[in-house]
Amino acid sequence: MTGLLLKDFYSLRQYGKTMLFMLVFFAFLSSGMDNPASFFEGFMVIMSMMMAIYSFSYDNLARWDRFGLSLPVSRTEVVGGKYLLSLILCLAGGILAFILSSVILAFRPVEGFGLKEHLFSLAGVSSIGIFLFSLLLPLIFKFGVEKSRLFLIAIFAAPTAAVISFGQLGIELPSPAFLLDLLKLLPLIAAACFILSFLISCRIYGSKEI
């Protein structure tokens, strides 16, 4: 599996450089916001995880799957490699954004937003990223990355659409206290979804004919 991860990192390194540039750019942009941390970190986590999707696209472009499955790697390792890549990118994006926003916060502190709240916010956005990818990865293994682009839009747009339509339909949104409790549970929910999603993807890819 290390070999497969290396393959993804080598092929993504050009894109990674663009990401570093974006990191600095958005750090600068978000420094003008009321709270620079949550937007910036959320954005960076999602953008970093998008690199995992690019790795599927690169594989697709090179038609890697057929060659990859002629190597001594099991299908579980192929799936595991992509899940691990998503996780590493999520953590890397989150931690880098955390460091940069901590620097910004040091110069321009936000009242009531200390280290504890900052870590809490980082855990929240990372969990949301992991949760969204838990939905997306099995779809990519099932339908391929090109067809899954539509799912990607749907998955990202669905929560926003739900909030807006709830408001319009007069359905009361959950109270902030409830949301805060939910946020505490979010890392656990995300971890459980991620594991379940991995098992589903293994099943899908295990029986796939290349």
């Binding site: 497969l4 290396l6 080598y10 092929s11 057929r66 001594p72």
Partner: protein, 302 residues
């Protein structure tokens, strides 16, 4: 398959005597069926795998590599079960397809690092040696490589973990004769070790005439023959005659027939016997391409 008996006797106590043994292999798709494919590749030899596009060559290779699941039949590669012992088996084989499957933006030196973590037997020095021998730059992205360079890179990768079996799916297609010859020489070199063998699928029958020991001909999902190349070329012939003599030819002797403005051309077997039967007729030697064309495109008069 007349070669089976002599290879079986020679290696009773030396593990499996065949690199590939396919028994009654079948696989159905909506539009196509691979039916009862039997194929045996003895160690120390090169098997040419021929057939028109869509005949089922790539399907067979995908079944061997467990990329497709067979509906029926048995596959044994180097004595391993191709599903239960898939990883062990894949350590021992090198695969080259008709194009490079490496990402455009990586470099040969990266491939070595990747493969080091994939193959237990990866030989970094051997890979560097091949890169030098093939004049491939270590530090240039693959996007800038020509098709010939990409194929050589794939070949270097397939050879650098000391495989015992090479599975090649159209590795020389689209390459110029000079590069093709270089690659064929590498195959001949590889086969010097008696434990090594090659399954070589190709449209370029002249390549196979140069290197193959056996030829398996797949047509429309079925194996038409799997025989020693020398026997095939000695056995088959082209019977030539004018229109007047054509009616005297026993149609049961004709495998395939073609008429042109000079007369009739017929693919026949038992060349020596036929020479006696049809005195005064010309019988030419055949190439693998003739055999393939007459089977696939010729008129079948029976």
């Amino acid at each position: 398959m007349n070669y089976r008996t002599d290879t079986m006797q020679s290696s009773i106590d030396h593990g499996p005597q065949h690199s590939i043994e396919l028994t009654n292999l079948s696989k159905s798709f909506d539009q196509f069926q691979l039916k009862d494919v039997n194929l045996t590749l003895p160690k120390g030899s090169i098997m040419g795998f021929i057939g028109e596009n869509g005949a089922g060559k790539t399907t067979t290779i995908k079944l061997i590599l467990n990329q497709l699941k067979a509906d029926a039949g048995n596959i044994s590669i180097l004595g391993f079960d191709h599903i239960r012992e898939e990883k062990k088996l894949k350590e021992e084989i090198g695969v080259v397809f008709d194009e490079s499957y490496f990402h455009d933006n990586i470099k040969p030196k990266h491939i070595s690092k990747i493969m080091e973590h994939i193959y237990r037997n990866w030989d970094r020095e051997m890979f560097s040696h091949y890169l030098k021998a093939f004049h491939l730059p270590e530090n240039k992205i693959i996007k800038d490589f020509s098709r010939g360079m990409k194929m050589k890179l794939t070949l270097a990768t397939a050879l650098s973990h000391h495989p015992k079996l090479l599975i090649l799916d159209e590795p020389t297609s689209g390459l110029d004769p000079v590069i093709r010859n270089e690659i064929l020489d590498i195959f001949l070199d590889f086969i010097q070790d008696e434990e090594h063998s090659i399954l070589f699928s190709s449209h370029i029958t002249s390549d196979l005439e140069k290197v193959a020991d056996y030829i398996t001909f797949l047509h429309d999902g079925k194996i038409l023959f799997s025989e020693s190349k020398d026997d095939l070329l000695a056995d088959y012939g082209l019977l030539l005659c004018g229109s007047a003599d054509f009616s005297s030819v026993d149609k049961g002797d004709i495998i395939g027939h073609r008429e042109n403005r000079f007369g009739h051309e017929m693919l026949i077997r038992n060349k020596d016997k036929m020479a006696k039967k049809y005195k005064g007729f010309t019988i030419d030697s055949v190439t693998l391409e003739d055999i393939m064309l007459f089977y696939v495109k010729g008129d079948h008069l029976k």
